[in-house]
């Protein structure tokens, strides 16, 4: 039950850099309109970054090698099908976690 000094610095620093992009558009939007190409570029960011954050888990980086994370790839496929079928964040998350737990329990334990 304590807060370490380096951890506190990390939390405060991360809080600052998170809150600034959240607030800035609210402060400037009344005065400045972003140029069209910038808006278009920004509109591709969500899909790109979400793909990256999924694909990131397909690989395990060790010191001098890159390995495929097979359990993740195996579970991602049915999880994707559930996401497409249900369009529900919570059902996808719960069933994904459940399938990963089952896979680990039966095969990777």
């Amino acid at each position: 039950m304590s807060i370490h000094y380096p951890t506190l610095i990390i939390i405060l620093g991360c809080a600052l850099v998170t809150v600034v992009p959240r607030i800035v558009p609210f402060l400037v939007v009344r005065n400045i309109a972003l140029p069209e190409p910038v808006l278009k570029w920004l509109s591709y960011i969500p899909i790109c970054i979400l793909t990256a954050l999924v694909v990131e888990n397909f690989i395990i980086q060790a010191n001098d090698s890159v390995k495929i994370n097979w359990p993740v790839i195996i579970v991602v496929i049915p999880t994707l099908l559930i996401a497409l079928k249900t369009k529900s964040l919570s059902i996808t998350v719960i069933s994904g976690v459940g399938m990963m737990a089952l896979l680990r329990f039966f095969l990777w334990s």
């Binding site: 304590s2 506190l8 570029w41 991602v76 976690v97």
Partner: protein, 241 residues
């Protein structure tokens, strides 16, 4: 005049803080399951319960919290963790830029408050309300945001307390919660794409996957996330007809 009064009357009925809180409920299951996972991952990354609570209250971003924990375990430098968090959370800029025009008539302080608590989910709920042509106001938005915020802090702290009692949280598959959430958010994003643009977007997703994997051989994966996102978003603009 009468019509105006009727609109005001309806706003009073429909757009209260309480209604905002109610409209948050469908997203709560998502918040709670990810928050529990974030709390468990936090303590398994050697954070104390109080540090998890502080992290969830001040950073308040699921993806970033997982990444902060992962980088701390990997002994990354403080500056690298903060820079990565900045980049991971930069997408909020786009969400805020989309929602902000609805609130220009309110005070600066209210705008700061609404912006500070904007998340993927509260963005989703409010932007779909706007898309349906329904009005939104400050009280409704605060009800939505604050309900989500309080639930998130409680879920993360509960997860941290629970995580202390588990010897091996990975065995329960909670580490997969974030991957599943990103996958679901990606599917929901693609859902909202116009059919004529669908192929364009699917091609970009394929480019992302290829560039991510190739870059992973040369740079840390969180750097690969950034570089590939910048490259592919640019390809997206250039190849857009």
């Amino acid at each position: 005049m009468i019509a105006e009064k009727a609109v005001q009357q309806r706003e009073k009925v429909d757009l209260t803080f309480r209604q905002g809180a109610k409209d948050c409920i469908p997203t709560l299951l998502g918040y709670i399951s990810i928050g529990l996972a974030a709390g468990i991952v936090g303590v398994s990354s050697h954070l104390s319960i109080m540090e998890v609570t502080l992290l969830s209250a001040l950073v308040y971003a699921g993806a970033a919290q997982f990444i902060i924990c992962a980088l701390m375990v990997a002994n990354s430098s403080i500056s690298a963790i903060i820079l990565t968090t900045f980049i991971v959370n930069l997408r909020h800029f786009l969400l805020s830029a989309t929602i902000a025009p609805e609130f220009t008539k309110y005070s600066l302080l209210k705008n700061v408050g609404i912006g500070a608590l904007l998340t993927d989910e509260s963005f989703g709920v409010s932007s779909s309300k706007i898309a349906k042509g329904e009005p939104i106001n400050d009280r409704w938005m605060n009800g939505l945001n604050i309900t989500a915020y309080v639930s998130w802090i409680i879920a993360c702290t509960t997860g941290a307390i629970f995580g202390h009692m588990l010897s091996n949280p990975e065995a329960f598959g909670f580490d997969f919660a974030l991957t599943a959430m990103f996958l679901a958010l990606l599917v929901l994003q693609i859902e909202s794409v116009l059919p004529s643009k669908l192929n364009h977007y699917l091609r970009l997703i394929l480019y992302m996957a290829i560039i991510m994997i190739v870059l992973s051989f040369f740079v840390p994966s969180h750097v690969a996330v950034l570089i590939s996102t910048i490259i592919v978003a640019t390809i997206g603009v250039v190849t857009d007809k």
